[in-house]
Subunit: 192 residues, 2 copies
């Protein structure tokens, strides 16, 4: 998606440890118009009319997933990351490793809201090692629901998450795949 | 806001400890159309044309705040709750007590994205003890920005947050104020 790549190129910064900082428009300060444009873009890749729900993980996936759910006329579910008072029993869980926080995290969705009849579109802002998305897939499977596809804003193509998910046969659409990010700048897959 | 009150009345449940469970449409599974209707409602209370940014706290405020920011043509900033790799120096912080997680939490906004020239509309899903909203106000003040107002979906009127914020002179708009919630049901302020 050219619009997104241009924003990454002009506003993104590469920090030590291959961290790509796009927190001016994607995951801290959020350009909601860009989120809406990305939601529109995913429609070219997935038959969203078949979906019954959009699923993401808190917190940074929520803004993009909200705009997707709104555009497609669907409810949004966000998986929670810690046991809180207002999730009761009947929880579908998946343990993942958070590279951001360097610890194990449990993703949780109430079984009350994700049903075997659901057709799920998973949306997230970032794909690197793919742990969050693997966890969301596991939750969809545990619920007995159907995964329609997985839409991601930015994929770090030099980390293994995207390859693992594609190898597993998951329909994955990343709107910008970064092949290399270092002091020389950011290069997208396919030489873009 | 009648639409929201009806949803709380018909789908909300009261759990022990005065917890009001509305996670079927507000803060786990999210009805994005209802979020859009709430964003429209806030426009009756605040001059959103003066605002330059919508501010909320992760995670449960993000969906509603995203719909508000999108409707008003503004960027969204969500305060983060834990030190993560991609927030660098220059952080505006506020320590709050999270009653949900029963521990101290630090709200953080990058000083890069919240400026003294900003006019801020704070949005959140829930107001009970008001700690998150107090922290967001503190961040707005620390940034030297102007607070235009504070919009909340559901206020627990029997907890002190709303009164404290109003006593402090903050323009606060809660779309549904719950006066009592127990085994006999949910009663809204003004006998609604």
């Amino acid at each position: 998606m050219d619009l997104l790549k241009e924003r990454i190129r002009s506003e993104g910064r590469v920090l030590p440890g291959n961290i790509i900082k796009v927190d001016g428009f994607l995951n801290h300060r959020v350009d909601t118009k860009l989120m809406a444009a990305m939601a529109e873009e995913f429609e070219k890749h997935f038959d969203v009319s078949r979906a019954t729900v959009v699923l993401t993980a808190e917190a940074s996936g929520i803004a993009l997933a909200t705009m997707c759910a709104y555009r497609y006329g669907l409810p949004l579910i966000y998986a929670k990351k810690a046991k809180s008072d207002n999730i009761e029993g009947g929880i579908i869980k998946s343990d993942i490793y958070s590279y951001t926080y360097k610890k194990k995290v449990t993703l949780m969705v109430s079984a009350e809201w994700l049903k075997p009849t659901d057709k799920v579109l998973i949306i997230d802002d970032f794909l690197a090692n793919g742990e969050a998305l693997r966890g969301l897939c596991e939750i969809v499977n545990s619920a007995g629901a159907e995964l329609i596809g997985m839409g991601v804003a930015v994929e770090k193509g030099f980390q293994p998450g995207g390859r693992k998910l594609r190898d597993a046969g998951i329909p994955l659409c990343s709107l910008a795949i970064i092949e290399r990010a270092d002091e020389n700048g950011i290069v997208f897959r396919d030489g873009q």
